[in-house]
Symmetry: D2
Subunit: 346 residues, 4 copies
């Protein structure tokens, strides 16, 4: 059964794997102090054209978020996210477990705006309430949408004007940057945020995220936090090597572009079949809506996650493409779903 | 320059790597719910002859310790360790960061005994002090020593009689079990402890530790804790697959035995050269003591860590062997050090 | 200027003060182990007809809530509250600071129901999300409303059926129990909840809340938590003595009844003047709504807190009565406000 | 039975109590924003001749310590104390519960020195260990000793040179300042530390400590921390009023001097009887050593705490004097103990 369940169903992109094999017997010092990590950090600094950025490699996204956020904030400070934000819903209270409240704004398209943040700031006016200090956004968002330059600039400006820091969860930043609706570069993102992370796990790596600290105030003693939360990998070079490969010859963007191309095929094909979508996603997560029985029938042949049950007897499902998604799988899926819809429609 | 700095200088054992390559394109569900993880858990349960044990795969040792300990304890409860215990010294306060005090007993050989724990229990007598509840031991210890059956049984019995749980950090449990001073099996360790972990990172894996929960009281909702601390790897099958390979055809013990054999060569060779040791270690960490100038001279050709500077102008260094340590490197080291000592002795 | 700002504007009820003066020179042991504390605990146990209840005296409400909730929950468990719940808004993230997420239901009248909790339970279905485990309610609520027997019974039953514990913040439980809409006794509340606290600060004491643990599972080692959070008062007898006095000769209910009677006068008087209210509160907090200019004019003569600015140019203010509120102050207030409304209405 | 158990056996000094009674019916705003608190803060600022110091009133010592230390430190930073330090032993892990490790130096006389701290700094050299950042001292110490000007200046200078902050727990600072071995003023203490607290509970108040922040870096948003830890008393004026009274007409020093005078009588009398002491304490805690049977016999007539059981069949007990200790009680105690010793000596 083919799976569109997520972008971490398979192992690593072959180029990544080849490098791991090639260097396996080399001896390096541990904990990310090796040359591969250094070179990978340099590659990322070049990518964002900022030689002062601090870069840390961490195994997973929740870990990266909790280390970043808990080290950015003082005990009474809170982070603002959308109510569907990954840190608010799908990290088992990891942020709260480090002592910080997640304040939320309700929004359907997964994107924060100054207008959504303003009332939260206005409300939190004294020491009986937490102090909003950090804005958390995901790009692409949890529903596949992306921030364009205008949106991110407005958010960045608003944050600066209001004493807020801006942090971007880039678990799927590759897909965002390579999407048709994107007009941002990674360099611009680095300029508009205080920190962000470049997702590797969902972009062809075995595992690994690269946390980039742009704001100088966030850099001091950061490795202590990585270690304290248990995220300093002994064989740290594994992460460095993978990111070095990812940022050599544009592999990062090649992988993301492939993901997007497969997702666009899915989107175009389903649209042609008259299937509506939860959001207009230009990235590698698509959220088509089917009648419940069709959704169940698809489940017999293809693996996916249910995004939500709609009150009207329909189901929104999530389809995700990865570096490994082959075009034939997409075509077969579209053909099979087309068939199911035809039969059902008769 | 050859490095005896640690047992995580190289990548993964070739058999492990081969399996990662072989299965790279397979699609599996994420977060460790895949078949490889299930089979690896079963293999470990067979290894300890306990089909009810709960097994979790986690990327690193500090992470495993902090997840285990913070989930085992209620807020006011404390863990007892040696003052040189990894959780007390080398985890950047990871345990305290989860809210728990580490109580310590001073001991040179790295091993806890009922006699060392007793005064701590006696002292902590009321609600103005933390409540000792868990005993943390490392096997092999931070100075290379191992617990034998008599010692572990006595400790286990003492813990049960005093309402304490017993947890073993097995970062180097392979080396301990394969050492000449060992008379325990992993099954016995599982019977004598409430929980322990099987170190993979230092025993041939890319990364990964297998936390084994034996005591039923510790099992409920455990996956929540793994996720909350950011340790639930998206491509969890990477860990499962590696452990499955490790516990197929005795690879785990083969690797550990190789490590120990190389360490024994080091130990025997240095002893023959008249070099004293900090401890009588039968495992893959050796702690020879050299005059400062010899230690510095060695450093020019071989990488190692300084264990401690002795007050008498000597340096205790740590030499560690791994799955990848070749016999020729050991022989060369011995030959070179012998030469240095001869020159110095003239 | 007379203040209706809150029910802690004055010191202690004269009977309380008299006892503090009378016993001032007595020597007692510290930390609440004295006879006054014991007798006060017994008095409260008699009040709820449960000799096994554990009772702890703590200086303030936020402290009581954070000690209770953080000791009731394991690290991955969350507490459910209304979005206006005190722990969610007005405790500076105290609950999150102990590591726990507050899940919220939106509701105008300040009261939780099974219908509001059910979707939260349904949504939190796996280990990627926190586990709802405790329901937090306030009686009277933050907007002055009270739970009647039917409501509390339904909530209690729902909690039991769904593995949830029920905890009542009784900062103003006296006013709730003495209100005209109440049909519950404290004994019944103790039967329907797992734990609750009896507010003293807002019911005539200098300071002090009595936390009552009914559910046996919550009792073990509780004094450790009180101490660990810094809440074990050295001169603990101060709290015991005050509660003993409060539960002697019905002083607790006398004070609450006075508060309510003054609040009812306010409510009746304002209603007669045509003033609308945010909620139909039968307790000592009243939330009348005035045109902005009237609200500002009142502010010149009387102190109060703004509850919220309404979008239509009106202001909802909060008026609170206490043990010390004299009838003349209420009458003057009504007369003055009536005068302002008349002038404004011309 | 007369109690020398501690300095919080009785209520408040009569002058304090009188002020509480006198102002009981006044209405003030809550949470320490009232005029009494402001005036008390001013009085303390005058006392230390520093109009920029920030002052906060908190109910108890453990609470003060945990709020101060957890707000001063970032997550990876640790506090250094003596192994007998109150925060290390007698606060149920309150500091660790906020996430911070307590590093300890072993010392008999309860006082830290640069020599004791230096090895701790040297040892903590990288990100695998916590980062020492704060030095915690108690004056008077847990064994009654005091810091003189030379000692505190040396410590202060050492801290500044090594990037450490210095915090003094002044639970018994009154007794320290009024002791015969003291040559410091409160103003000097404020100059030599980054923060300290003035103990009220053990110096005649019902309850209350005044935390003084001298270092500007520690002041920002501090009230948030007080609230978040549950320490912002609703009727905050109670604390302000008490401290205002304490710092009017020198009451603070009068009380401490009385305590010390009674303690000196005890010390002189016991010394005359040939009783040895654990430490040479010039303050209101005395630690005489008796044969076990004498200690038990004393217990029949006088309440005290056992400080420690000596291995040689003797018991060190703690005798504490308070604002309320009458001279006759001291004389009777000395007479009775003298009698016991005589009988025993026959």
């Amino acid at each position: 059964m083919y799976s569109f369940r997520n972008d971490y169903s398979e192992g690593a992109h072959p180029d990544i794997l080849a490098e791991l094999v090639r260097t396996n017997l080399e001896q390096t010092v541990g904990y990310g102090c090796d040359e591969y990590c250094e070179r990978a950090k340099d590659a990322i600094r070049r990518e964002i054209n900022n030689e002062n950025a601090a870069v840390y490699f961490i195994s997973g996204g929740t870990q990266t978020n909790l280390i970043a956020i808990s080290s950015f904030l003082r005990p009474h400070e809170a982070v603002i996210a959308t109510s569907s934000g990954h840190i608010n819903v799908h990290e088992t209270g990891a942020i709260e477990a480090t002592g910080h409240k997640v304040l939320t704004a309700q929004v359907e398209n997964g994107k924060l705006t100054p207008e959504l943040i303003k009332p939260i700031l206005d409300f939190h006016c004294d020491e009986h309430m937490v102090k909003p200090r950090l804005v958390y956004i995901s790009n692409s968002s949890e529903v596949g949408t992306v921030y364009n330059r205008g949106e991110l600039s407005a958010l960045s400006r608003f944050c600066k004007e209001n004493g807020l820091m801006l942090y971007m969860d880039g678990a799927r930043i590759g897909s965002a940057l390579c999407s048709k609706q994107n007009d941002l570069t990674m360099e611009e993102i680095a300029k508009l945020t205080d920190a962000f992370y470049i997702g590797g796990t969902k972009n062809g790596l075995m595992m690994g995220e690269a946390l980039v600290l742009v704001n100088d105030c966030l850099k001091a003693d950061f490795l202590f936090f990585v270690k304290q939360r248990g995220a300093l990998l002994a064989k740290g070079r594994l992460l460095g090597l993978q990111f070095l490969t990812l940022f050599t010859d544009g592999l990062f963007y090649k992988i993301a572009s492939h993901e997007n191309r497969m997702a666009e095929l899915l989107k175009a094909g389903l649209t042609e079949l008259g299937v509506p979508f939860l959001t207009d996603s230009p990235t590698n997560q698509q959220f088509p809506i089917f009648a419940d029985d069709i959704a169940e029938k698809i489940k017999l042949s293809y693996d996916y996650e249910i995004q939500k049950k709609l009150p009207d007897g329909r189901t929104c499902i999530r389809l995700v493409t990865s570096w490994a998604t082959p075009e034939w799988a997409v075509n077969e899926f579209l053909r099979d779903v087309g068939e199911m819809l035809r039969i059902s429609g008769e």
